[in-house]
């Protein structure tokens, strides 16, 4: 199933976007054309939800002026789609597998935050206030909108068809390792916060991580 992945800056500006087509047989299937244009809008809808999640999870930090971005909140509260406290991920990052003793990592992963016509949207929030968001599409059985036209009545309620299933653990690994790659980019003295990330090396590595953790060939 194809994914659309984006890193959103602290001022809600996308600094990196990529689409991971799913591979079935020889050809790779991406998002149907009209859905592609929808992605940015779906993304923004999800951002508002993430923002609410952010303050809801950490009300006291919000009180202090802009407060820290620390809406990451613990994984203890009741919000169901928050991730469960997971075991150490085995990702060997550039910072010498920092991510394997990650007691803070999992509370950045927000899991599935929204769904839209069978598309699931998951998100990951860094303490620096960056948002990693992914729209998980399905190929064939894409609810009512598979045929490319979104019929009017579907727009209101979300499609009754079951949304795409999300493998939390695999996704968390992907998000954490992309987070590590992002930190490495941030450490570059010539990179300024919220600059678009255009280095081919970054793109290549993110796609490799996507292949490793998420894209399941059908």
């Amino acid at each position: 199933m194809p994914q659309y992945f984006a890193i959103i800056g602290t001022r809600d500006n996308p600094i990196y976007e990529a689409e991971f087509p799913s591979i079935s047989g020889k050809n790779s299937i991406g998002f149907p054309r009209d859905l592609k244009e929808l992605n940015p809008f779906i993304l923004h809808a999800a951002l508002d939800i993430i923002e609410d999640l952010q303050w809801q999870m950490n009300p006291n930090s919000g009180g202090v002026t802009t407060g820290g971005y620390f809406g990451t909140g613990g994984n203890s509260n009741s919000n169901s789609n928050l991730s469960v406290n997971n075991s150490n991920s085995s990702g060997v990052g550039f910072l010498r597998n920092r991510s394997n003793n990650n007691n803070n990592m999992e509370n950045c992963y927000l899991g599935k935050v929204d769904h839209f016509y069978g598309l699931s949207i998951t998100a990951y929030l860094t303490y620096g206030g960056m948002k990693f968001v992914m729209i998980h599409g399905t190929t064939g059985d894409l609810g009512g909108s598979a045929g490319g036209n979104i019929s009017g009545d579907d727009v209101g309620g979300n499609a009754s068809k079951s949304a795409v299933q999300i493998d939390d653990n695999a996704l968390k690994l992907f998000y954490q390792e992309v987070h590590e790659l992002y930190i490495k980019t941030l450490m570059n003295p010539f990179y300024r916060l919220n600059d678009p990330i255009t280095t081919p090396a970054f793109d290549k590595r993110v796609r490799a991580l996507a292949r490793k953790h998420i894209v399941t060939s059908k």
Binding site: N58, N60, S61, G62, G63, V64, T65, T66, G67, G68, Y69, F70, T72, G73, G74, S87, N88, L95, R96, R98, N101, N102, N103, N104, M105, N107, Y127, G128, G129, H179, E180, I183, L186, M187, P189, L193
Partner: protein
Amino acid sequence: MDPGRNYQANHPLTEQEKKQQQFRLFQESLPKVSQLAFQMLLNEIVPQAMAVENELNDLNSLEQTGDRTSAVEGERKGEGEAENIPINDLSLQEKEVSSYNTNLKIQPSHKLIMELAELEDEEKYNNILKRLRNIGFEMGKKMCEMLVFSNNPNLHFKEMDLLLIMKFICRDVWKQLYEKPIDNLKTNHRGTFYLIDYNYKPIQAFSLSEEAPAKELKMVEPFLEIPLGLIKGVLASLGYSPEEVICISSFVDKPADDRPKYGFPKGVSFHVQVNMKPK
């Protein structure tokens, strides 16, 4: 995999201790360089900031008179600028002598520091301090991202408020850079903090030849801009924008007993003010 299973027989480590130990082992495994090399680099930024200001002024003044290159050439006493020799043509490398090796006019650090301390031109002085503070700011921002990312067990993001961030600076940030934590943190719990370091490491060997305590304090002032910028950088990376944070430094007397006989005569207090207007 539940990490708690393999407790040692005699005294089982609590979860927190286990994480501390794991974090410590991880920190020890990281590649290291010499602290002195770091300190010499950090300190040399200050005299060079003075040299940069001088050079930029020379260039600007000549810019008005239109022949900027001659200023630079003059300084290099007219030896040929190394044109861009194709790197892959190895044979040429042998003859390539770098343009700045032989006769660059290099001012020694102590003279630049004296010049900076005696600078009357307020605007130039503030330019230099701003440059130093900005370097500290960038260091603080990036360092914070990295330290936080290396998930130090005693960092809890759930209740990360200002006081906890200040403790993070006093303990983790200071220890990473200066091998010792801040000696004393005071606060009025309304956004005002005093971070007191009685022996700010980079300046402990500084002393003038003649008995001139006031002069020494003036000369050391620019060296405090980098840590001030660093504090603002850490706060900025954790959500407190620079406009809301005021950082100034002042000197404090050292407690009588702990005075290492030959350190810098005064301790340093970093005063941090975060204005707390509710959003």
